[in-house]
């Protein structure tokens, strides 16, 4: 295991594309999170100009809401697409440069090759999870001060949910890259599906207002994104009559994990039967 990770790390250590995309993810994420309150309050101000009784400004960076809010912004599809593209590039590179062949020729088993990539996904998800947890903690601390120790523990389920989202989404990307073998095509198809096709399906099959949309809940990308369904903004609840999520549902976690498990199964099956 350690040996496989060591090999994977050598492959990316001086790979600029990897670090640029990795950095971009955090730039987008940080910008998104830090601008979110400003943007929402800007909208509130606009609305308030026409309202006799003004809406109160929102505050999203306070404990314990900060956990859920950061998890929500970090798992938006426009943000998650970055680590997914990283994963697609890492696997399709192996086909483009034929290094997957060379790895097997040199004495890596096909299973080891796949395990090393899956370990990489796990490691990236863990590292991003830790960075995000630390980030949320400091944002929360900065805004609410050190008030209550228990507030910290309340956030962990949401960070766990984010970790599952990220890991499963990267498995989807890995699956797409492995099956298509071509970097450009895999990125195009994956992005198209994630950002356009699923939202269109949602639009076509959307349920009447306030009813649970059943088909949509089970679509793979949506299942990942909806682990943290809404940001924790109390005003939203009042405005839209939404039932505010206050925990990560275990059942909701199982859906993307089931997709990921099936995809991993297919990848192993194909790897042992197809020519390299």
């Amino acid at each position: 295991m350690i040996k496989l990770l060591k090999i994977e790390f050598k492959k990316i250590r001086t790979y600029k594309v990897f670090w640029i995309l990795f950095g971009l993810y955090f730039v987008f994420l940080a910008a998104g999170i830090l601008l979110a309150e400003f943007m929402i309050n800007h909208m509130v101000n606009n609305v308030n100009q026409r309202m006799p009784i003004p809406f109160p400004h929102v505050a999203i960076y306070y404990f314990p809401d900060v956990w859920q809010n950061v998890a929500f912004f970090a798992s938006m599809r426009y943000v998650l697409i970055f680590p997914a593209i990283i994963m697609i590039i890492l696997i399709t590179n192996e086909f483009t440069f034929k290094t997957i062949r060379q790895n097997v020729i040199n004495g890596m088993s096909k299973t080891e090759f796949l395990v090393s990539k899956l370990l990489m996904i796990l490691l990236m998800a863990v590292i991003m999870g830790i960075i995000l947890t630390a980030g949320s903690f400091f944002i929360g601390l900065f805004h609410s001060g050190f008030t209550d120790v228990n507030l910290f523990s309340k956030g962990l389920p949401f960070m766990g949910g984010f970790f599952i989202s990220l890991a499963c989404y990267m498995v989807y990307a890995f699956f797409c890259g492995f099956m298509l073998r071509n970097t450009g095509m895999a990125i195009a198809i994956f992005t198209l599906y994630s950002l356009i096709i699923e939202p269109v399906i949602y639009f076509l099959f959307r349920a009447p207002f306030m009813f649970k949309n059943t088909i949509y809940t089970y679509l793979p990308v949506n299942a990942v994104i909806r682990l943290t369904e809404y940001p924790a903004i109390p005003m939203l609840k009042k405005m839209m009559g939404l039932e505010l999520q206050n925990h990560v549902s275990i059942v909701a976690c199982l859906i993307p994990m089931a997709y990921a498990a099936i995809m991993i199964g297919i990848v192993f099956w194909v790897m042992n039967r197809k020519d390299l």
């Binding site: 001086t14 790979y15 004495g107 020519d275």
Partner: protein, 300 residues
């Protein structure tokens, strides 16, 4: 002398759709042999090697390395260059070789040595994508040499190289072979196989045509063409020439084979003494390539 069997191949077969890429191929490679697989393009050489390295699952047949069923551990004892050099273009030579060493469970100690052997030591920190074609091929050879493998598999190692590059690669192969490393070399160049290998199998359309000692399989016998006014007398007379093997009459010209190098003046004198005046006498050397083509055509 009993030689330890390194590779045993039995009735190996692979189809791609309707095409039989490799058909019932069997052969054996002993330790220390320099073994050639010779055949034109598309004869199944690369497919065979790919199966031996677990890249392609065979449809039928078995093979064993070092007397054991194939596994990743047997592959770690083999250094291979298959078709093109496969490395990460954005990594330098040393990092690429370290990845190979990691996979093979070999220490990094050899890296400097193989880089020096392949003449890439000065460029060891250059990215692979900056390498010329010849350098790439030599890096592939360097990576195959890592960890002192017991066997080297080389698939068309000089393909596409300039004459200088070809000479460098062949010298390197000869050096490795002289250290006792078993070498399995696939090539479509008869000349290459003849220069480097001691044993050979000849493939055509996935079927083995010949196998055995290179000198026996690829022996080239030159012939001498001659003609005179009375052909039957000539044929009878030349049969008495020392070293005579066989003669065939084609279009009024007698083609004669000998078991030793023969000079035309020798024959002229010999026949003149017997009272035969030749109207035609010429040496006919077959090129190796021509011989190879004949070898492939001879069989149904």
């Amino acid at each position: 002398m009993q030689v330890e069997t390194i590779l045993h191949v039995e009735k190996l077969s692979k189809r791609f759709g309707k095409i039989r890429a490799v058909n019932q191929l069997s052969f054996e490679v002993g330790r220390g042999q320099v073994f050639g697989i010779l055949g034109p393009n598309g004869s199944g050489k690369t497919t065979t090697l790919s199966m031996l390295l677990d890249l392609i699952p065979p449809d039928d047949g078995t093979f064993s390395w070092f007397g054991q069923p194939p596994s990743k551990d047997s592959r770690k004892r083999i250094g291979s260059v298959i078709e093109s050099p496969n490395f990460f273009p954005y990594l330098d030579a040393v990092t690429n070789l370290k990845i190979v060493a990691d996979i093979k469970d070999k220490p990094y100690d050899d890296i400097d040595e193989v880089l020096q052997l392949s003449g890439l030591y000065e460029r060891r920190f250059s990215k692979f994508r900056t390498f010329s074609f010849g350098m790439r091929q030599r890096l592939a050879l360097a990576s195959a040499l890592l960890g002192k493998p017991e066997v080297m598999i080389l698939d068309e190692p000089t393909n596409g190289l300039d004459p200088q590059g070809i000479a460098q690669i062949r010298d390197l192969i000869s050096l490795v072979a002289s250290r006792g490393t078993t070498i399995l070399l696939a090539s479509h160049l008869l000349d290459e196989v003849q220069k480097i290998c001691s044993y050979v199998v000849v493939l055509r359309k996935g079927v083995m045509l010949f196998s055995g000692n290179v000198r026996e399989v690829l022996a080239v016998s030159d012939s001498i063409e001659m003609a005179s006014s009375d052909m039957p007398v000539l044929a009878a007379a030349i049969a008495e020439f020392p070293g005579f093997l066989a003669s065939t009459a084609i279009n009024g010209i007698l083609q004669v084979h000998f078991d030793r190098p023969v000079v035309t003046s020798e024959i002229n004198t010999f026949l003149y003494i017997k009272g035969i005046v030749l109207s035609h006498l010429s040496e006919k050397k077959r090129s190796l390539e021509q011989h190879f083509l004949e070898l492939l055509q001879d069989t149904p």
